[in-house]
C-alpha cells in the first residue's frame, strides 16, 4: 500500500533527528507552528479530546500525521544501525518546495495505516544523513523541516531524507 501525500507550501520549520544506539531508536520530529486556538479547540482540550492522529506503519517505522489536516509531524523507528546500508555519499536532493506534507485521504475509520512493507535504511556517517526508502523512486522532494525532506512520486511517499542525524 502506498501512502498518498499532498504538499502545502509554507515556511521551513525547525526539526530534530536523533538515533540512540542503546535502544535502536530513531526519532525525527518537526516543530509545529502554534496557531491561534479556536473556541472549539479550547473546549475540546479542556474536556480531554485530542486532535486526531494517524500512524502510517512500515515494519517498525511509524510515521505520525496529526491534526485536522493530517500533517506529517514526526516519525520513529526501532532499527539497528548496524543493519543500515552504508553509503559514502547521499546526495542532498533538490527540493520542489518548502512547507507541510499531509495525508491526502486520512482513513475515517482507523488511526492506523499499514504500509505492508519493510523500508530500507541508507546511511552516510560522514554526512550524518539517512535515507529511508519505501520502494519507489521519488520524482519530487518537499522540505518539511530543517532536517527532513520528503520524497514522493505521483503514487505517494517514496523516501524520507534525514540530515543532521545525531547518533548517540
Amino acid at each position: 500500500m502506498r501512502l498518498i501525500l499532498v504538499f502545502h507550501p509554507g515556511t521551513i520549520r525547525p526539526g530534530h533527528a536523533t538515533y540512540r544506539r542503546s535502544e535502536f531508536a530513531l526519532d525525527c520530529g518537526v516543530e509545529r507552528i502554534p496557531v491561534a486556538q479556536t473556541a472549539q479547540a479550547k473546549i475540546d482540550r479542556s474536556v480531554g479530546i485530542r486532535e486526531p492522529t494517524w500512524l502510517a506503519i512500515a515494519d517498525t517505522l511509524s510515521i505520525t500525521f496529526s491534526g485536522s489536516d493530517a500533517e506529517l509531524v514526526s516519525f520513529d523507528a526501532y532499527s539497528n544501525l548496524a543493519n543500515w546500508v552504508a553509503s559514502s555519499d547521499l546526495t542532498l536532493p533538490e527540493v520542489a518546495g518548502v512547507g507541510t506534507v499531509r495525508l491526502a485521504e486520512p482513513p475515517p475509520r482507523s488511526d492506523r495505516i499499514d504500509l505492508g512493507m519493510v523500508p530500507t535504511f541508507r546511511y552516510s556517517q560522514r554526512q550524518q544523513r539517512l535515507r529511508i526508502e519505501f520502494g519507489a523512486v521519488p520524482s519530487h522532494y518537499y522540505q518539511v523541516s530543517t532536517c527532513l525532506i520528503v520524497g514522493a512520486d505521483d503514487d505517494g511517499l517514496a523516501t524520507l531524507e534525514v540530515s543532521d542525524l545525531k547518533v548517540t
Binding site: F24, D27, L55, T60, N80, R112, D114
Partner: protein, 321 residues
Amino acid sequence: MTRLIWGLVIGVLLAPATARAQADEVVYYHTDAVGSVRMVTDASGAVVARYDYLPFGELWPTVPPNPDPDVRQFAGKERDPETGLDYFGARYYRAQSGLFLSGDPGDVGADLFDPQSWNAYSYALNNPLRFVDPMGTCSQDAKGNYFDGDEAGTLVAPGLCAINKGALDAGVTETVSVKSKSAIVALAEGINVGAGPVADPLFIVGFYGASALGGLGVAGATAGVGAEAITLGVARLAPLAPLAGQLNFTNTVLKHMSNPGRMVPIQTLAEAIRSGTRMPDPQGAAGAVKVVQQVFVNGTPRTLEIIYREADKTILHFLYK
C-alpha cells in the same frame, strides 16, 4: 445502631446461621438458592420481613414490604437505599437493568466459546436463577462451581471462582494447552491445592484467558499450539500481574506509553509476552525476541508486535497495527 453479623464464603451470605443484631434484638436472615434474603425472623421465629424478587433482583412488588428494609437483599448483597444499587465488591449492580454499572474488572472472564460471557456488564451469564456472581468477577453456582454457558451447562471447573486469583497469587500455574474439558477440571483441581486468598480483584484472570483490550478471550487462538487445542481453547492461569509489575521500558517505549494514541495497557503487553508467538528479533538486538499477538482494540482486531528482552524483562519496542 445496627450491627450486621454474617458469614462470608467468597461473598455469599450464609443462612440461616447468620444473624443481625439490632439493639437487643437478634433477627435471622433466610435466603434462597442464590443467596437472596427472602425472609427475616426474630428470635421467637416470627416473621418480621419478607422479600420477593424478579429474576434479576428487582424487588417485587417494587415497594418494599416494610418501611425499614434490610440492607442485604438480592444475592445477599448490600442494597444502597439511596441509589438502589447492589454492592458486589468489585463493582455495583443495578437490578432494574440486570447489569453491572462497570465492566468486568480488567476485562477478564470472557470465554471465546461462551457468548453469554462476552458482555462485560452482564450478571451471572444472564442466568440469575442458576448462577451468582459473588464478587462481581466470576459466575458460579451456589456450590462455587463454574459452568460454561451452553444449554447443557457442562461443568468446567469445580470451585473455579474461588481459586483462580488465589492460584495466580500463589504463582503455581503456567500456560497450559488442553484438549478436553476434563483436562481443565484436572488442572483446576490441581491448582486448588495451592490456592491462596483473593487479594486484588482487578487482576483476576479468566479461566480461558482474555484480552485486556477487547474483553473477548483470544488465548484460544494462541499460536504455537495444535489446531485441536485452538478449537477447544487454551486454559491459561498464568500469573500476569507479577510479570506486568516487573516489566521495564526503554526511554523511547516510555515515551510511546505516555502517548494515548500509541500506548498499550501493561497487562496486555504482559499477556502478549506470555502467550504470543515468538521469533528472533529481526533487528538482532542481543537476547531480544519479537512477540506477535492478536489483540482487540475497541473491538477491532489488531496485531500487536513487541520486541522483548527476556534477561531484564525490558520492552525495547512495541506497536499495534
